[in-house]
């Protein structure tokens, strides 16, 4: 039942772009047909997921497939379901949003292409999530990856877009090649490409480690775990916003899914694995948000913030792995539930933020934070949505981000160990790191929200602001509702998370504690409501006081300065300056300013940027060096036929002397 619905949804999504391709580039019917198909498909898919959760039954669809080792085998289980929801939901919202954001009439060049690959991206992701056969998984993976490439390079007439797309393509292909090796090893161990848990005896430690490392590289590249994130920031920045939304919200989660799925197949993981994963999570989390603080490109900032949240998710997974190595079911449940829930939460608020950013960019035509300001008056709804997203992504109550981080905190504190059972206290140091991440996130989003929406417009870009069309606000509203709902009623999704966890660690299916027993989700609901009530009360009081007292308007108090101008406002860069300084050892900020200032003040300029350290100082140099090295081999092919004949002769002698 649920499989059928999901498959149907996949097919519809995959073909949703075709009608548009057949119509001419100026007709708007294409975009309506596409959206209709995509929405229908997504609805079916969501229906399938819902059917799975309500009935809990799944009949795998198994068909023979004449590829060597291939078998068409799809099934929905707890994990798949958790990842399917974001896929279809964001695809649905993104398509609707696209109606207003990327009108065919405004983008005749690439509108059809974008919609086509938006559909295939959805289909690929959904397929890979329900695939139970390695080859099928690989198919879904690559369809997703290539669609992603074409979506990133939607506006390929721009040089920056081309370069970004290229970096992305290389990264994703490296990941694919690692997957080749990974699946081959799995097949060598288990004897088939079926994605089923391996028997402990079928696997030598060496093979197990190899599989683990390969999956870290392959899926880490996709998920954007620091330091494998090099493709991510620019790709999210230059793609159309609803593409960024699905890429950052769903696409990179496929890396997480892969990691979760593969780790679920490997029997009794060593303790180091969990430690490594946890450490990677901490690094991505802290450095990701630190880089985010330093950015002044709205979407680039959000992209780095995705790296941070991936870090949090990975921390949860690491905790769960540690729990499995030490047989601590409570750590498994808290860690994995937190991780999976954060997958959802990040999907919701990050998509929300990207969509709001898109609506800003659509209105002002710039991504430069320091050119914006004061938009809250022109586009109040966008501002509100962004604010909700910002509060949620900082993990602040009473919104959803808090819940998942809360679970992970509980697990991390748990690693201190109680009276009975083993402990792994060094993991507990991740808790302060998580606190640091939270505080940095607050700094980051205070900065971006205020700089974009509050204060006064800093440039003419921000003057022609206007609220976006309902087709763009609507999807944001839906996401706002999701954020609030999960934040206030986490109990609702506890069973869903439970299914996910038991799919990862089957022995916890019936035995072991429940999430509700380990974490006071009811208290979270209660406190959330209390908080809201308190805020309303306080607001009411203030409002009442202001009603009954003289209130006048005036200019901002400039501390006596006579002629303040918008350009004298604190810019986002200056806001972040101290923090960037604290992290300069990793961020390596670049500042451009005149050498020495003249005696008398005159017009000068200063600007600072935080480029990606790993990309600019490790990856690109390495590639250029390689190319330089290879260029030396060209002397072998100078065009003289005599030399060529000599090669043949040499090869002949060499092979004759081989043995």
């Amino acid at each position: 039942m649920s499989e059928m619905l999901v498959l149907l949804g996949i097919v519809l999504a995959a073909i949703s772009g075709l009608p548009g391709m057949l119509l001419n580039r100026h007709s708007t019917t294409g975009q309506w047909l596409t959206t209709a198909l995509a929405v229908l498909g997504a609805a079916l898919g969501l229906g399938g997921v819902g059917a799975f959760w309500t009935t809990g039954d799944s009949q795998p669809v198994v068909l023979p497939w004449s590829l060597p080792g291939g078998e068409f085998n799809v099934a929905v289980d707890g994990l798949s379901a958790i990842f399917l929801l974001p896929i279809f939901l964001i695809s649905l919202l993104g398509n609707v949003y696209g109606l207003g954001y990327w009108k065919q009439t405004e983008h005749p060049q690439n509108g059809r292409k974008l919609r086509l690959f938006y559909g295939t991206l959805t289909a690929g992701m959904a397929l890979l999530v329900i695939a139970r056969n390695g080859i099928l998984f690989l198919f879904g993976w690559e369809v997703m990856a290539l669609s992603g490439f074409f979506l990133v390079t939607t506006e390929d007439d721009d040089k920056e877009v081309r370069e970004t797309g290229w970096i992305y393509l290389v990264a994703t292909h490296v990941a694919t090649l690692c997957l080749f090796a990974l699946l081959a090893l799995l097949c060598a161990a288990s004897g088939s490409f079926a994605l089923v848990p391996l028997a402990p005896e079928s696997l030598t430690p060496g093979t197990a480690t190899a599989i683990f490392v390969l999956s870290l590289i392959a899926f880490g590249l996709k998920a954007g775990i620091m330091p494998l994130h090099v493709w991510l920031p620019s790709a999210h920045a230059i793609a159309p916003s609803h593409v960024s939304a699905i890429m950052s919200g769903v696409f990179i989660k496929m890396g997480i899914y892969g990691l979760v799925r593969i780790t679920s197949l490997l029997p009794n993981p060593p303790l180091e694995w969990g430690g490594i994963v946890l450490a990677l999570g901490v690094v991505s989390g802290v450095l990701g948000v630190a880089f985010a603080v330093g950015q002044h490109d709205l979407k680039r900032l959000l992209a780095y913030c995705s790296i941070e949240n991936i870090g949090i998710i990975v921390m949860g997974l690491g905790l769960a792995l540690i729990g499995r190595s030490l047989g601590r079911s409570d750590w498994i449940i808290l860690g994995l539930s937190g991780s999976l829930l954060h997958v959802w939460n990040h999907t919701f608020f990050k998509a929300l933020l990207f969509l709001s950013a898109g609506s800003v960019i659509h209105a002002t035509r710039t991504r430069e934070i320091d050119h914006l300001g004061g938009l809250a008056k022109g586009m109040p709804w966008t501002a509100l949505c962004f604010l909700v997203g910002a509060v949620a992504i900082c993990g602040l109550p009473p919104l959803n981000g808090f819940v998942s981080e809360f679970l992970i905190y509980l697990g991390l504190f748990g690693t201190l160990g109680d009276k009975e059972g083993p402990s792994f206290a060094s993991a507990a140091f991740a808790a302060p790191a998580l606190a640091l991440i939270g505080a940095l996130a607050v700094a980051c989003f205070v900065k971006v929200h205020s700089a974009v929406f509050l204060g006064i417009a800093r440039s003419e870009h921000a003057y022609h602001d206007h609220e976006s069309s309902p087709s763009m606000i609507g999807p944001m509203g839906v996401l706002v509702v999701c954020c609030v709902l999960i934040g206030l009623a986490p109990l609702l999704i506890a069973p869903i998370l439970g299914q996910g966890v038991s799919a990862w660690a089957p022995d916890l299916k019936d035995a072991g504690p429940r999430l509700t027993a380990l974490a006071p989700l009811d208290w979270i609901t209660f406190m959330g409501l209390v908080l809201i009530a308190a805020l309303l009360f306080g607001g009411g009081v203030l409002w009442w006081r202001l009603r009954h007292s003289v209130v006048e308007n005036s200019v901002t108090w400039g501390c006596g300065y006579a002629a303040p101008t918008p350009r004298m406002q604190y810019t986002s860069s200056s806001f972040a300056q101290m923090l960037v300084g604290l992290f300069s050892w990793a961020l390596r900020p670049r500042t451009h300013k005149p050498k020495e200032l003249p005696l008398f003040p005159q017009k000068t300029d200063f600007h600072s940027e935080v480029p990606d350290t790993v990309l600019d100082e490790a990856v690109l140099p390495a590639f250029h060096f390689g190319a330089w090295l290879f260029s030396w081999f060209r002397v072998l092919q100078r065009g003289s036929v005599q030399t060529y004949l000599l090669y043949i002769f040499i090869a002949l002698i060499a092979l004759l002397l081989w043995r």
Binding site: S640, V641, L645, L646
Partner: protein, 213 residues
């Protein structure tokens, strides 16, 4: 009659050195032609009891290797009106030396080869190897296209010499096929040389280094 074979082979070897040592293309062509004729008659000495097909084969070989191909090459040479290989990659003295060394090695090497008993004391294998070596030398050290074609011919001759060891393995049809391919090959090369000459007003392969990395 088999004892008459070795003198013929020695002559053939000598012709290799002529081909290596002289710069006049005409002379090289003649040397190769003569070698071709020698090769053509050799089957009679290897297998005295040779049948009609053998005779026919001999005639075809001599005709092609000894007369048709050389004529053709001479014609091409006239077309291109050049007489000499002016500056080879390796000068004539050194190429002679290389040829000598190669021949010596070939002889030594062929003694180490596990030959069938009836061939152990024959010069056939060393001659074949050294001729192949000579062909390679010409191919890799000569600038003029025609000289390279001649080198190719020498290479084929060397292989042909080895083929004499196992005439019965090579049916008539295949032999003829081989010869036919050889002829067509040279013919096409000749045409190309003609075009090269027309294109560059010279047949030196220095001009043919446009395509490279």
């Amino acid at each position: 009659m088999v004892q008459l074979l070795d003198p013929l082979l020695i002559v053939a070897l000598a012709l290799n050195f002529v081909a290596l040592g002289v710069s006049r293309i005409r002379a090289v062509i003649n040397a190769v032609a003569l070698q071709g004729i020698l090769l053509g008659i050799m089957p009679l000495f290897v297998h005295p009891e040779i049948g009609l097909r053998g005779i026919l084969l001999v005639v075809v070989t001599i005709g092609l290797k000894g007369f048709v191909i050389p004529r053709f090459l001479t014609h091409a040479m006239r077309e291109a009106n050049i007489q000499h290989e002016v500056k080879p990659v390796v000068n004539f003295m050194s190429s002679l030396l290389l040829g000598a060394v190669g021949t010596g090695l070939a002889v030594v090497f062929s003694y180490t080869l596990p030959l069938a008993d009836e061939h152990t004391d024959s010069l056939l294998v060393p001659a074949s190897l050294s001729t192949v070596w000579t062909g390679f030398l010409m191919l890799t050290t000569r600038q003029k296209a025609i000289m390279q074609v001649l080198g190719y011919l020498l290479l084929e001759n060397g292989i042909f010499l080895f083929g004499l060891l196992l005439l019965e393995a090579m049916p008539f049809l295949v032999e003829v096929g081989v010869l036919l391919d050889l002829f067509t090959g040279v013919f096409v090369m000749g045409i190309i040389i003609y075009h090269i000459n027309r294109e560059f007003a010279s047949i030196s392969t220095e001009h043919l280094t446009e395509l490279k990395e």
